[in-house]
Amino acid sequence: MPEQIKDAAGIVTKVNDYTWDIPMSYKPGMRVPGRIFVSRKLLENLEHDTLEQTANVATLPGIQKYAMAMPDAHSGYGFPIGGVAAFDRNTGIISPGGVGYDINCGVRIIKTNLTVDEVRPGMKELIELLFHEIPSGVGSKSKLRASDSELTDAFLHGAKWAVESGYGVKEDIEHCEENGYMKMADPSKVSEKARSRGKPQFGTLGSGNHFLEVQYVDEVYDEEVAKVFGLHKGQVTVMVHCGSRGAGHQICDDYLKILDKATRKYGIVLPDRQLACAPAESTEGQNYFKAMACGANYAWANRQVITHWVREAFTRFFRRDADDLGMNLIYDVAHNVAKLEEHVIDGEKKTVYVHRKGATRAFPPGHPDVPAVYRNVGQPVLIPGSMGTPSFVLHGTQKAMELTFGSACHGAGRVSSRAAAKREFYGETIQKELAARGISVRATHPSIIAEEAPGVYKPSDEVVDVVHQLGIARKVVKLMPMGVAKG
């Protein structure tokens, strides 16, 4: 008799310590079971909606194996945040709700050869400089005045366009997922509205949980892999977390409406309108995919331009050029995206549309999509913490290919609402507490700090430990924040 957990409303059955299933009998129309990858403790705190939304995803046509939720899962709309699902290319669907509004919201880490002791004394001034050099927050304007043709180029060629335009070096592209751009992008599928929202925001960080962080390697778990990634204890790194800004939001918005109609046209029955979708190979489905790729490429270009400004700021601050400072990009991952990938399912090689909504791709050693320099150890899997909590670098494993369509978690996951956070925390107090722990925070104003206080997220190490224990990615280093800039 499988163990029943009361706290998850008696819904799930235990598969092992970190795997819990929602049976197909839970909800009419489920085509596969739901599968939640959490510890018992995380399960006990899981909201009912997260289970419900995972079960909803399981009803979508062509879904393979399980509707999955990663260890950091929390409720979203349509798919849960932390949701992973793969749909057969021929019988399955594609859904903007499985990608999210912020298409290719993602993370990158830039290393330096500076040590924590070299950077700590000037941290406050450095974070102030970064805050000013990289525009963030509501209504912030970019320093980059992109023309229409530049915007089109960014939609088409992402980080590659940015590097060719002088914002970075060739190696940066090689160290991005998809080499910094998805080739099926077609700007003719992007509306004028998405263009006009995207244009003035190109080269801005945004608001909400997006941030720019100066960190240092606090702990090394795997010396060998850390060496391949070029990381060692005490070393300073920079993390950039942002996405496709208004462009991506508008693309998602536009296609939710188009696919809402398509859902009816193709006779797809949905438990939630936010799951609007179309057969993957239909005109509507492919148009979304081509527009989504534009949004994804915009985000890669955006993070690349920001990287260039980070390097410039460091150069000015330390009076050494970026090369001399060793400011190479380690890797850049997308955590809101749909991809056409090959996976072995029930012993058969299949082409599927993998939707990762708040989940990170985690490809194993030997995979052709892993950059040559990392191919022996697997893809760097970058997991940002929240403000004041550690971030982690892991490496991809074969286990993820077997269990999660090559995916791992994307962050810590919220446990408390923004409104509650502002009632519970005072921005100024949090800022002082963090300062006492050696973390300088610079934000537009204090309530932004309260909204993203460390206490509103699940502890990042708990989530990452589940990923590590499951073996869907393995820990390489822990990064501690020392300076945070956010909008």
């Binding site: 509004y101 912020d102 509501v138 608001s207 809402d260 923004r418």
Partner: protein, 148 residues
């Protein structure tokens, strides 16, 4: 939320990662106006804003819930692209048409000025999640979850 719930016009409800609110009105037009007010109060306290600029809005939509989403989405679009933060909303009429519903109205506000305006987190999109347009004995109520 930057502003608090407002004199029976709207109230904020619990949502873990984003913002959720209900807005009320004796007519559907009024409920839609109050939904717009609630949405802008997620970002900023609109009490101190002045209705110095106006934008006229005309929308067709396939159904009433979509019309609500389209109305709020259009305001977000104008907020981002024209750089106006809105504080007053007037919907002349919501009508049933052959293809669905239509709306004609106005939004008033002032140009974004970061030296004076203190924004909390930005509303980035209007979702279909738990989207409601309902009528009861007291009038109309609508419910919206916005992505922040």
């Amino acid at each position: 939320m930057a502003g608090e719930g407002n004199e029976g016009k709207y109230e904020f409800l619990y949502h873990i990662a984003d913002a959720k609110f209900r807005a009320y009105g004796s007519t559907m037009e009024e409920a839609f106006e109050n939904a717009a007010l609630a949405m802008f109060n997620v970002m900023i306290d609109t009490k101190n804003l002045k209705p110095r600029q106006v934008r006229e809005i005309e929308l067709p939509s396939s159904d009433i819930k979509m019309l609500l989403a389209d109305w709020l989405s259009e305001l977000l679009y104008l907020f981002e692209v024209d750089g106006i933060v809105f504080c007053e909303f007037k919907i002349d009429r919501i009508e049933k048409t052959g293809e669905g519903f239509s709306l004609t109205g106005k939004a008033r506000g002032e140009p974004i000025d970061l030296s004076r305006h203190r924004f909390d987190t930005q509303v980035k999109a209007v979702t279909f999640h738990e989207l409601e347009v309902q009528q009861n004995e007291e009038g109309f109520w609508v419910q919206v979850v916005v992505d922040t």
